[in-house]
């Protein structure tokens, strides 16, 4: 790794903490961002010569703050900026600051920074765009590519979103326990949105990095809030899903169903981390939707082959999830487990009442068709499959479903 690549990685890693601290200091997003930019420029100039500081985050905060203050002084009194050599040689000042800015300080700064992006008036796509820009430091062009819009359109979107949060009244005092946990829940939801945006993009190269970014943010939250089981669950859920990335698509780019995936292509390191986290989370006995979803993915990850899947365990987990957040989609997923356990007839009876709420949801008709096919009711299966195809969101998706259904039909000799 070159110096420059290392410095870039260090600046990216330090960004949430440093920007969060500068925001607390200036109480103004634009000024905080400018100060951080300034500090980064000085880092790029100083670190290759003098070596990186022991605590890059503290260095960036101190230098960013001083640079911004110098800017103000310069404007008001036209005095000279101090030479960079003085700033780079922070010596004791840096370690003193680092002492004061321990984990608990950063914790609420980072949370505040993320929380600001979750403003309820902002639609989810704007929350994500804002978080990727402000917290992750992705360029407008990178974000625009992920959302399939022009750079100019994304620039406008982010500017509008920033104007909106600028007016929002975000308290800068240290939050109380209840407020902190509310903020954490909002931030967790936003991080999961970022992940899903990347995950649903499949192999789209512009969107795939969003998954890595969401995992990075979840690890960051975990370091700051190490004892929150739902944050562990969220991180585990994303890690276990991301672990299957290489196996999710075949050579033609078609989606491969979980049970047909080549499990040797699952990423063992990500699975190991995900399993460690869900194990830790469950010790707390404070279940939540992220933990339950992660536990479902963990059950798949622990099965050496699809045939060894613990479907009874998965059914129980979906049942728990249904109780926490009732939704016909979750019931549909449970029906798939029920089909494995008790056969297609039971599953079909279970999803019958879901037809109305899921009338526009193609996986419903896909699952229904598959159950009917297993029961030998091929004509009804065919019409369910046709319905699924007609509900596909795009021609490409329709072609995907058709290819998959053709395979199913061929297997059933239909």
């Amino acid at each position: 790794m070159t110096d420059l690549a290392w410095i870039n990685a260090a600046l990216t890693a330090a960004r949430p903490q440093a920007l969060g601290a500068l925001l607390r200091y200036f109480r103004d997003m634009d000024r905080a961002e400018e100060a951080f930019q300034d500090a980064c420029l000085r880092a790029l100039k100083n670190w290759p010569e003098k070596g990186p500081p022991r605590d890059p985050t503290a260095w960036l905060i101190l230098v960013g703050r001083n640079a911004a203050l110098d800017g103000v002084r310069k404007q008001s009194r036209n005095t000279e900026l101090p030479p960079d050599e003085v700033i780079s040689d922070l010596g004791d000042a840096e370690s003193e600051l680092a002492e004061r800015l321990d984990g608990s300080h950063y914790r609420d700064d980072v949370l505040r920074l993320l929380f600001i992006c979750c403003h309820p008036e902002l639609p989810p796509t704007q929350q994500i765009a804002l978080a990727l820009r402000i917290v992750s430091g992705l360029s407008v062009a990178q974000i625009a590519r992920a959302f399939l819009v022009s750079d100019a359109a994304m620039e406008r979107r982010i500017t509008r979103a920033k104007a909106r949060i600028g007016k929002a009244d975000v308290p800068f005092e240290t939050p109380g326990a209840v407020e902190r946990s509310e903020r954490l829940a909002a931030v967790a939801a936003m991080i999961y949105l970022i992940f899903n945006e990347g995950y649903s993009g499949g192999r789209d190269e512009a969107r795939a990095p969003l998954c890595d970014e969401a995992i990075r943010l979840a690890r960051l939250l975990l370091r700051l809030f190490p004892a929150e089981p739902e944050i562990m669950g969220l991180a585990a859920l994303m890690l276990l899903k991301q672990a299957r990335l290489a196996a999710r698509f075949d050579a033609e780019g078609d989606a491969v169903l979980l049970e047909d995936q080549d499990r040797s292509r699952w990423d063992a390191k990500l699975i190991g981390e995900g399993l460690a986290l869900i194990d830790k989370a469950m010790r707390h006995n404070r279940p939540g939707p992220y933990q339950v979803q992660a536990a479902i993915d963990a059950t798949h990850a622990r099965a050496a082959t699809a045939a060894q899947t613990d479907w009874a365990g998965i059914e129980g987990l979906y049942l728990a999830l249904e109780r926490m957040q009732p939704s016909p989609v979750i019931t549909l997923n449970r029906a798939v487990a029920v089909a494995k356990l008790h056969g297609p007839e039971a599953a079909l009876a279970m999803i019958e009442p879901l037809e109305k709420p899921l009338a526009g949801y193609f996986p419903y008709f896909g699952a229904r068709g598959a159950f009917l096919l297993q029961l030998g009711r091929s004509h009804e299966a065919r019409s369910a499959f046709d319905r699924a195809i007609s509900l596909a969101g795009s021609a490409q998706e329709a072609a995907h479903i058709r290819r998959h259904l053709d395979r199913l039909m061929a297997q059933a000799n239909f």
């Binding site: 990685a9 990075r216 981390e273 399993l275 460690a276 830790k280």
Partner: protein, 128 residues
Amino acid sequence: MLYSLLCYNKEDVVWSWSREEDDAVMGRLSVVHEKLVKEGKLGPSLRLLPTTAAATLRGSMVIDGPFAETKEQLLGFYVIDVENLDAALDVAKELSAANPTSVYEVRPVALFVPDARPNAPKEMIRAY
């Protein structure tokens, strides 16, 4: 004499490396590993998952996270069998050249318990 070489780095940076960056570092390290194997110096070695996956037992309390919050985290370690500190530092220098942003602490081993599992792997295995 047995030495352990403890590798420290900023885990948030290392675990944000792209696949290519990670592969590049691991590729350079594996050249050093192979050399050490040929010279008969390499003992058991581990790369650890991030400290966010750790739990710490203190007395009867299980605490989520690592033993201590530090600026740099223990990412993994080697056990090597070499003549003396100078030789151990030479190995550390080679590892450091392959992985320049990491710091290597050279620490002599006081007690070594070999892998006693009946089917102990002879080759490198993946995380779990």
